[in-house]
Structure formats: structure tokens, C-alpha cells
Amino acid sequence: MQAHIAHLEYLLRLGDSSLVLGQRLGEWTGHGPVLEEDIAMANVALDLVGQARLLLTHAAQLEGAGRDEDQLAYFRDARAYRNFSICELPNSGLEKGRTQSGDYAFSIVRNLLYCAYQVQLWQRLSSSNDAQLAGIAAKSLKESTYHLRHAADWTIRFGDGTEESHARAQRALDALWPYTNELFADDAVEQEVAEAGIGVLNESLREDWHAQVVAVLEEATLREPRPSHLLTTGKTGLHSEHLDFLLAEMQVLARAHPGAVW
């Protein structure tokens, strides 16, 4: 793989993951379980979209094809998106018959798993050879650390809460755990950028991520799920059925009114 292409793919993986998770969390706006959490999720979503803007702007410049962040966000179809699959899963979780409304435990546990990954990632990328990426990482680290704190607090509250909240947090954790494999599976893209000192091998983040997550699970009296062999492929552009719906909602305005500005 050419170094230039790997670099671009890597930025899209990170930028698209932030964007898609930000859009997902934004769905809680007006639907949060309590007002404070409604605001909290909207704030986390805003930060993630902010990260995505920086990363996609950088990706567009690197691509050099005259596109910008908006064109990357609004005019690519699902197959061109490079986000991790865990980010696109619906807020309602994965059980059948629960597709209409969100399950807050599912969103919280996903944030715990993903934000803990981001914290590890941004720490390492703060010293990337790509100065622009290093700047974005140093900034995002502050925000992701705060998101992680929020997710960890609520995971502990749910896990060590009532029978119902414990059961729902555990169910969410069991459902989400297999999707974390993709975060740590390296392919030619990560190998290329790691060799160039631009990115890191995700496998090297796993131990610290695991220690971080398990510390929270223990405090929350939640059981660490057994390892799974599921390996999702969102970062290569092969997604679940959920991403198309998310993109349709996110992109409809820009596509219905091309060139529209605020």
C-alpha cells in the first residue's frame, strides 16, 4: 500500500468514527432520560463532531482533490465511510424488537469502551510525525478524557445500581464487547502509518485500554465478557445495515440542497 493512501485511510478511520458516533449520540437530543443527561450527550456529540471536522479537513487537504470536510461528510456513501462498526450501532442496542427508542445503558457502555480507546490513541498520537494530527490528538485528548469520566461514572452507577440497571448494563456490555476486536485489529493501513511514525499499531494500545476498562467494570460489579472471535469490518468500508440509515438522516439536507450554507 502506498504511504500516501495509508495516511489518508488512517485519517478517515479516525475522523469517520468520531463523526458517526457523534451523530449517534446527537440522536439523544430531546430524548435523554433526564435533562442533564440530554445535555451531556449533546455535549459529547458536539466534541466528537468537532474532532471529526479537524480530522476530515486534514484528510481532505492530504487528498488534494479539492474536497473539504463537508464534501467528505455529506457526499460519501456508506461504502466510502471508514468508521469502526461499534460507532454506528443504534442507540437501542442490538436486541430484536428494541429498535424504536434508545437504551441509555447501551450508549453509556459504548462510550466507555470507545472513549477509553480514544484516550489511549490520542495520548500516543500526540507525538505523531504528522504535526497536524499530533495537534488534533493533543486537543482531543482533553475532551475524550472528560467523556471517559462521564461514561465511567454512569457505568458504575448502572452496574452497581438496581437489579434492572445492572442487568441492562451487563446486557449492553455483552453485546458490545465483540465489537471492540476491530479497534485492535491492525491491517496494512495501521502497519504502514505506524512504520512512518504517523500512527500507531492498535494492538499496542490494547493492554492499557483493557486495564482502564476492567478497572471500571470491577467498580461497577460488571462481569468482563468472554473473548469473542467476531471481527467487524467497518474501517474497511464494509458496514452493518445501520450505517445507511444514519447517513441518510445526516446527509439529507446537504444532498437535497447542494451548496446550501447556514
Binding site: I39, V44, A138, T145, A215
Partner: protein, 170 residues
Amino acid sequence: MSAVIEHNADAVWALLAGVLDPEIPVLSICDLGIVREVRMGEQVEVVITPTYAGCPAMHVIEQSVREALYAGGYAGARVSTTLTPAWTTDWITAAGRAKLQAYGIAPPGAAHANTAQVIHFKRATPQAVPACPQCGSTHTELLSQFGSTACKALYRCVECREPFDYFKPY
């Protein structure tokens, strides 16, 4: 009429000190510490750094800077953005902190220079609590880690019972 413009950086900084944050309109962008540099070339260039990456106020701020400089006689001034080093609430000036306090927002405590390493979560972790901007009591409690804007959290004073915003250390 030909306006004679004092073409120096101090004059530009003075103009910038009049540009207010749209979300916290008692704070100037200089108080906030987001103006990083003023470059005096053929055209003036002001370098700013974003607070939060997704903060929607940044666009308004960029525009306000251009307008203020235009009004001050610097037509065609450029505003550019830098990410490095990342903004921190430690850059909020002492004057800015006093203004926040007077406005009813508790100013941020010290940000940790390095947020790295494994964070340990314990329910009873004692954390530095902000003092109530109304009555000064430190007997306050967190209501929500997130507040009305990206940069604030919501607290309540247990003494005077007033809820208040806390500018989060960043």
C-alpha cells in the same frame, strides 16, 4: 478623509480586547487566552486557537475579529487558526477569572498538564470543588458534568441553594 492608523501590534491587541466571547459576553477573547499571536505584515494577521474543537462560537469569534479590525481601520485583516499548543483554561487571565466570578460562573481550577495514564474511578474520590460564585461557600455539589455550553459543568451550592455554572478545567 484619510484616517491615520497607528500601525502597531499594541493597537491591534487593544482592538482585540474589545471582542467579546458570544457565549460569555463579559469575557474578551484576550481574557480567554485564545488570541495567540498578532502578525504585522502588509496585512494584519491574527492567530487564534479554538477552545473546544466543536465549539460553535469559534465562527462568530472569527467574524467578530475581522469586524473589529475593519472598524479600527485594518481592512483585509486575516484570521488564522492554530491547534498547537492546545488551548487550556490555565490561559484565562486573572482579569478574566474575576469577570467570570462576577458574572456568576465559577472560574476553572488548574488544568492538569498531562491527562495521561490510567484513570482510577472510585465513587468517593475527593475532587477539588469550585466555590459558589454567589456566596463563596465551598460546600457545593456537582449536578451534571456538562452544562449550557461545551466549556461548562453544572453545580449547586449547598449553602445558598443556588445552582451555578462552573467553567471546566481544560
